[in-house]
Amino acid sequence: MSRDIYVVAEQRDGEIAKVAFELIGEATKLAADLEQKVVGILIGDHIKDKAQSLIDAGADSVVVIEDKMLAEYVTEPYTKAVTAVIKECDPEIILFGATSIGRDLAPRVASRVHTGLTADCTKLDIDVWKAKPEDEGQKLLFMTRPAFGGNIMATILCKHYRPQMATVRPGVMKKLIVDHTRTGEIKELKVNFEPSDMNVVIREVVKEKHKKVDITEAKVLISGGRGIGSPEFYTTLQEVADILGGEISSSRANVDAGWIARERQVGQTGKTVRPELYMACGISGAIQHVAGMEGSDCVIAINKNDTAAIFDVSDLGVVGDVKVIIPKLIDALKKYKTSQL
């Protein structure tokens, strides 16, 4: 019986999603604890030539399922494909990206094979669980995830059903450094698809650039206060936001001055936000502002004044001029991005 760890590698138009490489990176750590292998699952049409990239990223082998029906994501054919892998290979653990595909596919699969599924995990560990202290115990996947809007964390176990399944939030796990010298088996699994498996009709596929989101939904907020000096500087902050996949926001003063739209105001008379990163640029940190952002996961503040109250709620405070630091930060981020490719 296999006890390997499988990763469903999400792809769109033949391009593998970043989260797949992150999951493989995480799976290698879990596999080491279990003394098992990491297997990638690649589903699509004419996708086999991408399988090596999963091995380069740390997978020991890859199962590929190809069919015309799998060109665009549709719930039923993909469910059938993953279910076939489970029946064929009997994995111990399957990981999916917690994306709009992973969170559609994983529950359907879990329900079909009758096993447990934990959504949107931010931490995975292998540990020993014992029903009674004197038991020898078994090694299980400890799946930790936020609940209550991030107010509490819960660790979930799936003791009696296999595979143990989890969707994992993108951007949380670390991918490994790509190693083109790695080798591994790339195995095709033949699945018979019937026309009836295509139980919906895709009339149109429309690709679009990422839409603007509400600042309360943004994962990253680059926020400007009085210290940015001019409304034009928001364009510079927007560049940082674009690189980090976030939005720009503001303190009240700049909104009142007409520098930026009111919908972007953070604070007691604006919106309450709790992004993963809140970068406060030239914001002094009046209590009315802090009330709206103190729930953020990570706060980085840049301010000229070393006694600014914003530093009291910051994970990292940098005393300096935003107008000098931000342009340099943009250059550094661009360099960093290129080095990661």
Partner: protein, 380 residues
Amino acid sequence: MDFKLNKTHLLQQEMFRRFAENEVKPLAEEMDETEIYNMELLAKMHKVGLMGIPYSKEYGGVGGDYLGYSLAMEEISKHDGSSGITISVHTSLACSCVDGFGTEEQKQMWLRPMVDGSKTGCYGLTEPNAGSDAAGQQTKAVLDGDHYIINGTKIFTTNSGFADTFVMFAMTDKSAGTKGISCFVMDKSTPGLTVGPNIKRMGIRAAQNCEVSYENVRVPVSQRIGKEGAGFKIAMKALDGGRIGIAAQSVGIAQGALNEAIKYVKERKQFGKRISSFQNTQFKIAELQTQIDAARLLTWRAAVSKDDHENFAQNAAMAKLFASEMVNDVCRAAVQLMGGYGYCREYPVERALRDAKITEIYEGTSEVMKMVIAGSMKIF
């Protein structure tokens, strides 16, 4: 004796609260600054039934009661006194005259559109020279065949800036004193009816409170509500009910201001501590909340006595007298608790303090309330 709201009232209160927070609160500051009431907001209030609460479903109303109406007035007024008075004048003044004294035909014609969400009403009683002494009406209605010809000027007619339906009072027989006043209803398009600009005021600035002039306005006899000479009684009866609304508005403005102050003192630090940790702050807030609750209970008692068809005039006057004075005290204290910020227009307590003052004046001043209460107590 039951001091608890039932499930229906609780859910209504929840709905009013959400509507007020999501629809009224975001517009209140701007409406006050511009002194213009937002017509989309008015349409939304109609749509969810806020303008027809105590009226029968038979006429397209909500089928609720004055207690539910009081809850609505409180929740809306927590964020905007102007919206409160807009609802109140329409509901407990304009609609109630037609509902209480109109014929079946008049109710179908005039009440139905006001309570089913299509039209907004106003109520014209006060004149430049007839305020508390409402009997001193100078506007005249002279019978001419099957029509009346109305001439005169009304002032402080709330809602008149956008109202569709005008309920108003005029002298049909000057020699009969209060028994010579009659009540009329008409459409805003009636020739000779003109509405002046919004009067510049201290508070409730978004409400549309204008001078309305009637110049040779011809209305058919079928648009007279009640008997000729019954107008004063109709007007007073409407005001009795209206006072419950004003009391609830006062409770709302006060609670809204206190809530803001509480939020503020929990965050504001001075002398190294949150100012909510000072006993002076705690005691002040305890006193204010007690005052508000006392006013709310008086208001609910008045509403329930009206719903139970008891003689409620004294209860309504007592609720309004107490609540309107209370809200002025509470708003002044809320501004004080917030210090300099409380005085700034960035925070809504400044507006609440300005809005509060009128509650001691309109729909009967505090002095008139005392006359009503003493009169009901038969102290002559």
